[in-house]
């Protein structure tokens, strides 16, 4: 666990440094994610310890948003005076965004990914997951 946490922080730090040194508009943690991903690709697998700690951290991902969410207190006045546009926009655009992205993605997948078993091992795994998805 400690080793994985160190690894995650190192990736984030490298990402932050790269973003600043190269003046990239991309936040450090996102670059860190790409870095760790590249590392896993090179290594060709996820070590059990990393799998476990990353899973633990991600299971409680939504907890990490709570402190920023409480910041709603600071903006109560604005939220009250502009309640209608804010509520309509947040609900409308979020649900519209989910629907458009998912619908288009599903359409494109059904066109571009014929789900054939070109690569038997990978194909089978995909077919299995697909069936699961169709059932739900």
């Amino acid at each position: 666990m400690l080793g994985t946490l160190t690894l995650l922080l190192l990736c984030q730090l490298a990402g932050e440094l790269a973003a600043r040194l190269l003046h990239l508009p991309v936040p450090g943690p996102v670059l860190g994610m790409l870095l760790l991903f590249a590392g896993l690709l090179l290594r060709g697998g996820v070590p059990a310890a990393v799998q476990e700690t990353a899973g633990g951290l991600l299971r409680h991902l939504s907890l990490l948003f709570v402190p920023a969410g409480v910041g709603v207190m600071v903006h109560v006045t604005r939220l009250e005076t502009e309640a209608l546009p804010i509520i309509v926009a947040l609900f409308g655009s979020t649900l519209f965004g989910i629907a458009v992205t998912a619908k288009l993605m599903a359409f494109l997948l059904s066109r571009t990914d014929p789900r054939l078993e070109e690569d038997p091992a990978a194909g089978k795994a995909v077919a299995g997951k697909q069936a699961e998805g169709d059932r739900a």
Binding site: L8, C11, Q12, P25, V26, P27, G28, P29, V30, M33, L34, L36, L41, V50, A54, L57, L58, L61, S62, L63, L64, F65, V66, P67, A68, G69, V70, V72, M73, V74, H75, R78, L79, E82, P85, I86, A89, L90, F91, S93, T94, L95, G97, I98, A99, V100, T101, A102, K103, M105, A106, L108, L109, S110, T112, D113, A122, E132, G133, A136
Partner: protein, 240 residues
């Protein structure tokens, strides 16, 4: 006696321990209620925790800044958690590679649709310019959204609030809207949640299905990149 109490109060309100503990306890209450009342997505644990903490702070007269001094330790973990998203992404890499073209097209259309519809709706219902600009990047994860908001002249802390509410809306009603438009593919369902509603949408997708979770994490990361690159450019093109 009341002197003791006063001293304890002074200690607690000046120490990060209270804010940190309050955050974890409130979130546990949120999780407990969520489980107890039948895992209804509308009873989102984040929403419950935020309401509880805001209530406690208002009643006790502690300001947000003092609370955040403690809670920032939780907030800080957003960075390492974002990095950790590489793991589910790697686990699903085979699938991701197979659907690369669909991913890119859906990302660009979905990202634009979220941002433009948000801006258009605030404008149409008479919101102020600052609110419009703060609203534009609200679909991406908070550190990115706050950075973009600052670049285009919004209020970063207001953007952070919009980001969280966006996530809560998606976690509460996302499943319903995905069923409504009849999308069954887990890859598409997850990707939609990640693109439109960043980490909270991803957390919800991870709860439901591992494939959906991986695609949500990918959607969140990609839209973070796309928004960070495109929105400031778009803003300068339109407003100069």
């Amino acid at each position: 006696m009341s002197d003791d109490l006063h001293q304890i109060w002074v200690y607690l309100s000046a120490n990060p321990l209270a804010g940190l503990t309050l955050t974890l306890v409130a979130y546990q209450c949120g999780l407990w209620l969520f489980e107890k009342l039948g895992r209804r997505p509308v009873l989102n644990p984040v929403l419950i925790a935020v309401v509880l903490i805001a209530g406690v702070l208002s009643l006790s007269g502690i300001d947000y800044r003092t609370y955040f001094d403690g809670a920032q330790f939780v907030h800080f973990l957003l960075g390492p958690a974002t990095v950790a998203l590489a793991v589910p992404l790697y686990n699903q890499f085979q699938e991701v590679r197979r659907s690369a073209l669909a991913l890119v097209v859906a990302l660009l259309v979905g990202s634009t649709a979220s941002a433009l519809s948000a801006v258009a709706l605030v404008w149409a219902f008479g919101g102020s310019a600052v609110t419009i600009l703060s609203m534009a990047p609200k679909s991406v994860t908070s550190p990115i959204a706050m950075g973009v908001s600052e670049q285009i002249g919004g209020l970063p802390s207001l953007t952070a609030v919009f980001v969280i509410i966006t996530g809560i809306v998606a976690a509460s009603l996302g499943t319903w809207v995905l069923n409504l438009v009849r999308v069954k593919d887990w890859r598409a369902r997850g990707f939609g949640m990640g693109v439109a509603a960043h980490g909270i949408g991803t957390a919800r997708a991870l709860q439901v299905n591992e494939v959906a979770g991986a695609f949500a994490g990918l959607g969140m990361g990609l839209n973070g990149l796309a928004t960070a690159l495109l929105l400031p450019t778009l803003y300068h093109l339109i407003w100069g």
